[in-house]
């Protein structure tokens, strides 16, 4: 689950202890020195658990969810129905089905039941979310979460046999098992640890890669639906614990408790601190709790709490009850407009500590040795037809590539080169034809499955995981290779060094210049240890000198992993410099095949591709 115990487990747990201490310290400071309410701190702790739960899903997958408070409602009612004594239940929900009236469990068991119930519901909802998200993008997934919030609210209001209805709700007194703050402390600390460990786990890293670029992640063998589902279940479980504690502390549950207002509050907390960071989420809880309390007091008492007595001053029109709602709404709007990433973006305390105090290799590692590729596992593409509407993009295209050669595909713009690559990597469905690798039929498989079989591509327009560092970009695909391709753990350091990226290994991918980004894309693809590297215009936008150095780059990357290469380009110097064999495409058909010299001499190719300039 974890690739580096110190970085991924030890430091996150240490970080969690520090965060836990800081948060409690702030609470104690507020309660002790500022004379604040104990309840405010208690509820801030519970809010923090819920916000951390939401962060696990929203932060790592990048999908906005309005539905987590709906899950909270389900957990809250499940907890209440299991923990309230039959005597109380007869007063409120005497007609509850399934013999629920007689159920009376201790609070700890009730929390466990609430979590099991809500995680089960989440599993079902998650299937819909995943399908919808995969087909029509994150926006429709978000609307489904919103619909979920409303479903639970409607059910809570209109199913009085279970919930006590809109007015009465369920109120109760439960034995003292959870009365002290200790259970809240335990849950809070647990939530921090779970959130951090998930983010550092393989699952979490792949989820973040897919968040940064879904298509590129799939082309690297990641099936984002798996990570999103696991993230959702974990996240909802944590929310379930927080919701149960909230219900317990409040001593009642009403449909309105887990609806728009709590959704707003928790989302604002999440985004103000920085949704991509656990540290940020906690900072947000602190800032918003303090701000909301200030707004509430100002709304109630005007300026009196500062002892300045501007009570009847002209500012009176601002400081009115419900000011906190304006505060929360404005905070959300303001941050989205001016600082959408939040105060901390994805800064994480334990990663900072690890960077400062963790032992790291500082000297460049020994370069990787070249591996002689085997002669097995040829790529065989036969009779591909693809039509977009009435336009025949590819017609009966067949190519072969062996692992010991570099095969080029050239052709004028619109010849169908990229479409062919998209077909091979499963991004475009075929009308006819087959793609086989080492005798295995890959036609019609999804792109992540094809990548796992050993066909890994780069993209014409760069698709890096922008927020991840150079090193992490490479590591992600090494992780996939290790888990899905049964590859031995790759020396990421050595590969990064071999790609000439050692100096910039800690830079974020989005900060890199163009040529370096191209090298990183190549290194990331190589880290999958593919059978074939499929390169889509690796030199587009490069100068002649850069293109020539790309030849060395491609050779060395393919060399250290022993992969065959299929490369699309229209830079003839580059193609003839690197390829052993070339196919020429025009109007969706293969019009010539041969060695670089043969292709250059072929009159059909000259006419179609090089035009008049070649005749000189």
């Amino acid at each position: 689950m974890f690739s580096d115990l110190r970085r991924d487990v030890v430091f996150p747990v240490l970080g969690a202890i520090v965060l836990f201490g800081l948060f409690l310290g702030a609470g104690a400071f507020y309660q002790g020195l500022l004379g604040g309410h104990e309840r405010l701190v208690t509820f801030a702790l519970i809010d923090a658990i819920i916000v951390l739960g939401i962060q696990i899903y929203v932060g790592n997958t990048g999908i906005l969810s309005f539905g987590h408070i709906g899950f909270g409602a389900i957990a809250g009612y499940a907890f209440a129905l299991s923990a309230i004594s039959p005597v109380e239940k007869i007063k409120r929900v005497a007609d509850a089905p399934f013999g629920l009236v007689d159920v009376h469990l201790d609070p700890w068991t009730s929390i466990a039941i609430a979590v099991v119930v809500v995680v089960t519901v989440a599993a079902v909802v998650g299937i819909g979310l995943a399908r919808s998200g995969a087909e029509s993008g994150a926006v429709s997934a978000t609307v489904i979460t919103l619909a979920l919030l409303f479903v639970t609210h409607e059910l809570a209001r209109n199913w009085p046999d279970m919930t006590g209805g809109d007015r009465a709700g369920l109120s109760f007194r439960i034995g003292g098992a959870l009365d002290s703050r200790v259970p809240i402390y335990i849950a809070f600390f647990g939530a921090i640890v779970v959130a951090r460990l998930f983010a550092q786990s393989r699952m979490g890293r792949l989820a973040v890669a897919a968040r940064e670029d879904n298509l590129a992640a799939r082309a690297m063998g990641v099936n984002p639906l798996v990570q999103q589902m696991v993230g959702l279940l974990l996240s909802v479980g944590v929310v379930g614990v927080g919701a149960s504690l909230r219900v317990y502390q409040k001593g009642s549950i009403l449909p309105g408790d887990f609806f728009f207002n709590l959704t707003l509050v928790t989302l604002v907390m999440l985004i103000v601190g920085g949704r991509r960071s656990v540290t940020g989420a906690l900072l947000g809880v602190g800032v918003i709790t303090a701000g909301r309390e200030l707004a509430r007091r100002l709304g109630q008492d005007g300026f009196e709490i500062f002892g300045i007595g501007l009570d009847d001053a002209p500012l009176d029109w601002i400081f009115r009850p419900n000011l906190k709602m304006v505060f929360l709404g404005s905070a959300m709007l303001g941050f989205m407009i001016w600082r959408p990433a939040g105060l901390l973006d994805d800064w994480e305390l334990d990663r900072w500590l690890h960077g400062k105090f963790g032992r790291r290799r500082t000297k460049p590692p020994v370069p990787l040795p070249m591996v002689a590729p085997g002669n097995s596992d040829a790529l065989v593409v036969r009779g591909i037809d693809v039509a977009f509407g009435g336009f025949q993009a590819l017609r009966d295209v067949s190519i072969d590539a062996g692992r010991q050669e570099v095969v080029g595909i050239i052709g004028p713009n619109g010849a169908g080169k990229t479409t062919l690559l998209n077909v091979i990597t499963g991004l475009v469905p075929v009308d006819a034809g087959t793609v086989e690798l080492g005798g295995v039929d890959l036609t019609g498989k999804q792109s992540f499955q094809i990548a796992r079989h050993g066909l890994v591509r780069t993209f014409q327009n760069l698709r890096l995981f922008g927020a991840l560092t150079v090193w992490e970009n490479v590591e992600v695909s090494a992780l996939v290779a290790q888990t899905t391709r049964d590859q031995p753990p790759l020396d990421v350091d050595a590969l990064v060094a071999a790609a000439g990226l050692w100096e910039v290994r800690d830079r974020r991918a989005r900060e890199l210049d163009y040529g370096t980004s191209r090298r990183l894309e190549l290194a990331r693809a190589a880290a999958m240890s593919p059978t074939f590297l499929l390169l889509d215009e690796p030199t587009s936008g490069m100068s002649d000198t850069e293109s020539m150095s790309m030849i060395e780059q491609v050779r060395s990357m393919a060399g250290v992993i022993g992969a065959g290469v299929v490369v699309i380009d229209h830079d003839l110097n580059f193609i003839t410099g690197i390829c052993d064999r070339i196919y020429c495409l025009d109007c969706g058909q293969v019009i010539a095949e041969g060695s670089p010299a043969e292709i250059q001499a072929n009159p059909v190719v000259q006419a179609a591709y090089m035009g008049s300039s070649a005749q000189q």
């Binding site: 087909e135 993008g137 926006v139 609307v143 619909a147 479903v151 298509l215 709007l333 959408p340």
Partner: protein, 295 residues
């Protein structure tokens, strides 16, 4: 049979309003890729304008154009103050910006007007009905359906026959290319918000006439119906949005009359569940919009 016909007419009346709301949502989604959770706020603001105007003794004949005007102005102001600042941002930012606008608007009314319900008198004919054979038809539904058809025809002409319509459809198909072809992004986006405001204004007239009151959170329901209908129809498709509106209206009416009494109060919840099921089996909505991603 009679009941089914009756449901059909009731459903069309309800669906008309949803269709107008959904079309407004879809128009903005087309040009900005923004799913506007603040769409219902146009009705909240119009609602308070209605309350104020009727309290001041205006007649409904004056209030009707007022609602449309307020809705359009609100739509443009929101665009200027909030959405114009997040153009081109990622989905997450766009969604939460509109969610934030929704909350700020309702919080302002909560803070400066009142949390309590403000009621106003409805026009007398809203509750009148007339009989056609065995059917009892509401005058209100007749007017709603008639006006909606007119509004949809007018919108369709606007989109098909005018330069603005062409620009808007081009922008909806591919915003960046449309800009390169000389479509002015500012004016097309503002035009889309104005159009969306007009549609929400017409829907708002009927919504408010039927409700006869307003509260700070009045926008939640119309927003939800509009957004869900747009999604049912297939996000990005204008035709789909209208279709989605009618489907949602019919589904609600049919369910309410068919569900056993013990479940009738759960109609809304059941509708949401059905929508969730629809998305599991047809995630792209009723009309799918091809959106190729360039690789």
């Amino acid at each position: 049979m009679a009941e089914l016909l009756q449901n059909l007419i009731d459903g069309l009346g309800r669906g008309s309003i949803y269709a107008l709301l959904a079309l407004g949502v879809a128009v903005i989604f087309g040009v900005m890729h923004l799913l506007n959770f603040a769409h219902g706020e146009l009705i909240t603001v119009s609602g308070y304008a209605t309350f104020w105007a009727l309290s001041a003794g205006w007649s409904w004949y004056l209030v009707v154009p007022l609602i449309v005007a307020v809705s359009v102005v609100t739509s443009l102001v929101i665009e200027r103050l909030a959405f114009s600042r997040v153009r081109g941002a990622d989905d997450f930012t766009l969604l939460l910006t509109s969610f934030g606008v929704h909350f700020v608007v309702s919080a302002i009314f909560l803070l400066y007007v009142s949390a309590s319900v403000k009621t106003f008198s409805r026009p007398g004919w809203v509750t009148n009905t007339y009989a056609v054979g065995f059917l009892r038809i509401e005058v209100f539904d007749t007017v709603v359906i008639g006006v909606t058809v007119l509004a949809l025809v007018a919108t369709s002409l606007l989109l098909q026959r005018t330069m603005f319509g062409l620009a808007l459809r081009a922008a909806a198909a591919d915003f960046d290319t449309a800009r390169l072809m000389g479509v002015r992004s500012d004016s097309v986006i503002r035009g889309a918000f104005a159009l969306s405001g007009v549609l929400a204004g017409i829907a708002g007239i009927f919504w408010l006439m039927r409700a006869g009151n307003t509260v700070p959170t009045a926008g939640v329901n119309p927003m939800l119906k509009g957004v869900l209908a747009a999604l049912i129809g297939g996000l990005g498709s204008l035709r789909g949005a209208v279709l989605g509106g009618f489907v949602l209206g019919l589904a609600e009416v049919l369910l309410r009359s068919r569900l056993p009494d013990s479940l009738a109060s759960l109609t809304e919840g059941v509708v949401f569940l059905l929508i969730a099921l629809l998305f599991i089996f047809r995630p792209q909505g009723l009309i799918s919009v091809a959106h190729a991603e360039r690789v």
